[in-house]
């Protein structure tokens, strides 16, 4: 896998985007922490400065200038100011009247008042300077006092915070980068597997399918959807091939009959009656061919799934009752008994015209293949979420080993080739059931056949 592909990949890009977002947010956090620590330290510094000012001022008020100078010396002697403990402090006390001076500051900074900052040479190393924050006040008329502290400690803390952040961010960036690359490579491997499968199918290996990882994640979901689509397409392709070869084989037979008949007529027919008889037979033959054509077209039309758009909620009960009434006299004329046990008010989603044809085919099969005296039952009952419609008869039935074959186009039961029929009725039934996602099953009715269909109830 080329590195530039990984860097260009969508997953790496989003990893980079999130890393950048994290970086920006951590900078904001750094700013807030930085400001809070800085402010806290400054307040502490100012607090101790003000405390020292108060001590010196109190000394002056109670016992005069000498005491104040004494306090200043005491303070300067402590570790806090000597610079023994960093960062060190600075004091300047000056009485304008006496001109006396105490403290460790050489330059009084023009006797500025209030809180201010300036830089002075470092206490023990005069070649460098330090920043001093302090406050200048008059503790009495003409007595100026300045107390200040080295701000170096604040700078050190600042440095530490910056360093800590720099480390954390460096590590985070490395993880983000590696993680991004890792996940991108993983992702791209699986995408490549999909692409490879598509290429294979383009190259003619129609049975190839996308490998699944079994993790049930969204990529597996996509792979399953694509595989299902490929299955569907391959079924349609197979159907198409099947239809083409069916048409080639099974239409050839009636066409041969037709041709033979016409040829024979040309050679042998003498009278106008002879010709009329042949013409009548020839028209019958073509009508038979047209019926096969229509059935094949209807099957492939149903299998293409284009009728799905015409689906609507309909009453299966009423549909079956209509069909029952329609075939009642037909069965009677065959000396058969057509019965119904239809639960009223059962509604499903479907195509009324196709469903009518489907159940008509089933009932006509029962009537045509059943002997005189046969009983045919149309049943509809709801079980759970399934509308179970069945057509049951006590006719000859279908042998167990042929039950799954009868749904094929042009399949005729062994020994029934001489009876009328084109072997397309059940193929159409199966196609219509599939279109409705209905289950369809052939069972032994002991004796006879039971065709069970199950639709989803609305």
């Amino acid at each position: 896998m080329r590195p530039t592909r990984v860097l260009k990949s969508e997953s790496f890009r989003s990893a980079a985007l999130f890393a950048t977002l994290f970086l920006i947010l951590s900078w904001v956090l750094l700013g807030v922490v930085y400001w809070i620590v800085d402010d806290t330290q400054k307040s502490a510094l100012v607090g101790s400065i003000d405390a020292d000012i108060n001590t010196i001022r109190n000394g002056y008020r109670e016992k005069g200038l000498a005491e104040a100078i004494e306090v200043v010396h005491q303070r300067l002697g402590s570790g806090e100011y000597s610079g023994a403990d960093l960062p060190g402090g600075y004091i300047l006390l000056r009485d304008t009247a006496s001109g006396s001076l105490a403290g460790n500051l050489q330059r009084p900074e023009n006797f500025r008042l209030g809180l201010f900052k300036f830089s002075v040479p470092r206490l023990h190393q005069h070649d460098s300077t330090v920043n001093v924050l302090g406050r200048g006040v008059y503790i009495a008329d003409g007595v100026y006092l300045f107390v200040g502290r080295d701000t170096g400690q604040i700078a050190v803390t600042r440095m530490r915070i910056l360093k800590a952040f720099a480390w954390i961010e460096a590590v985070a960036m490395i993880f983000a980068g590696l993680g991004g690359i890792f996940f991108s490579v993983q992702f791209m491997r699986r995408i490549d597997a999909i692409a490879r499968t598509c290429q294979a199918i383009i190259a003619g290996r129609f049975s190839d399918r996308i490998p699944l990882r079994g993790s049930g994640d969204e990529l597996d979901g996509l792979a399953i959807a694509i595989n299902n689509m490929l299955d569907r397409i391959s079924t349609l392709l197979d159907n198409l091939r099947q239809v083409s070869s069916d048409v080639a084989h099974d239409l050839r037979t009636p066409l041969t009959h037709l041709r033979n008949r016409l040829e024979e007529a040309r050679q042998k027919s003498v009278t106008a009656e002879d010709y009329a008889a042949v013409v009548a037979r020839a028209i019958e033959d073509t009508d038979h061919l047209l019926v096969i054509f229509a059935a094949l077209l209807r099957i492939s039309q149903v299998e293409s799934g284009s009728r799905l758009s015409a689906f609507s909620a309909l009453s299966l009960s009423e549909l079956l009752e209509r069909i029952y009434e329609m075939y009642l006299p037909v069965a009677e004329d065959q000396h058969q008994v057509l019965l119904q046990d239809i639960q009223p008010g059962v509604r499903i989603r479907g195509d009324g015209e196709l469903l009518t044809q489907m159940f008509s085919n089933l009932i006509e099969n029962a009537i045509r293949h059943g002997p005189s005296g046969a009983r045919i039952l149309i049943r509809l009952a709801v079980a759970g979420n399934s509308a179970d419609a069945s057509v049951e008869d006590n006719g000859p039935g279908i042998p167990a080993d042929e039950r799954d074959k009868v749904f094929r186009r042009f399949y005729r039961l062994t020994g029934s080739r001489s009876t009328p029929g084109n072997g397309l009725g059940l193929a159409l039934v199966s196609a219509i059931a599939n279109l409705h996602h209905a289950k369809i099953e052939l069972r032994d009715n002991r004796p006879g056949l039971q065709v069970l269909t199950g639709f989803d109830v609305v």
């Binding site: 073509t286 009728r307 009434e325 329609m326 009518t356 045509r368």
Partner: protein, 226 residues
């Protein structure tokens, strides 16, 4: 009666022209959609027989154009497009009947005859149909023949109603299936024959003669009794 035939298949058009003229019809022929539309708008035709796939202007658009111009002449399509959707589209465009090629001429003739008397039959919404001594109450769904009440099953009543709306016309098996049962496929059993024989038995019982005449190989004719 005047018929307009719009059909680009020269052989089929020639055959249809000959057969219609033999039946005493005056037929005009157009071989493409544009001239078909022009003639349909100009002429006084009782029925237009229209191929669905035509050069220049296809049949569906021709019918839509015709209807939008307020021409209500009944249209029957002749087409090789046998899908359910094709038929629905054709009728939605404003056509009145749909016949899939190839067909028997008798089938086309029967449909043209039924269509041609449509405009005159403005009483589609009537609640009572009277044919000689037979009287149908379409609201109560009852039938009386010469004062005698006849009990019919719902599908038998619809069959009789369709006959009564088209008396003395040849009605083919396929027309009965489409109009009485709403079925557009060919049943492999004798659905029509069985229902006709039941209806015939009920309506003829106790009377002379047969009001439903069978025309062998073609269909049935309802003759109003006196």
């Amino acid at each position: 009666m005047h018929i307009l035939l719009v059909e680009d298949d020269v052989e089929l058009a020639g055959s249809l022209l000959g057969q219609f003229r033999e039946q005493g019809y005056q037929v005009e022929h157009c071989a493409d959609g544009d001239s078909g539309l022009a003639s349909a708008c100009r002429g006084e035709y009782q029925v237009i027989v229209l191929d669905r796939m035509l050069p220049r202007l296809d049949g569906l658009r021709l019918v839509r154009e015709l209807r939008s111009r307020g021409v209500a002449t009944p249209v029957i399509y002749l087409t090789t497009m046998s899908g359910i959707d094709d038929r629905v589209q054709g009728l939605e465009a404003g056509g009145d009947d749909y016949l899939v090629k190839p067909f028997a001429f008798a089938e086309l003739l029967a449909r043209v005859r039924v269509l041609s008397r449509r405009p005159a039959n403005a009483n589609e919404a009537a609640i009572r149909l009277t044919l000689g001594s037979i009287e149908l109450d379409l609201l109560k769904r009852t039938v009386v023949r010469a004062g005698k009440h006849i009990d019919l099953l719902p599908q038998e009543f619809r069959l009789l109603e369709y006959f009564a709306r088209n008396p003395d016309r040849m009605l083919t098996k396929r027309m009965l299936l489409e109009n009485v049962w709403g079925i557009h496929f060919d049943p492999q059993t004798s659905v029509v024959e069985s229902h006709i024989s039941r209806l015939r038995a009920k309506i003829n019982q106790g009377f002379e003669g047969d009001v439903i005449q069978t025309v062998r190989g073609t269909g049935y004719k309802f003759l109003a009794p006196h």
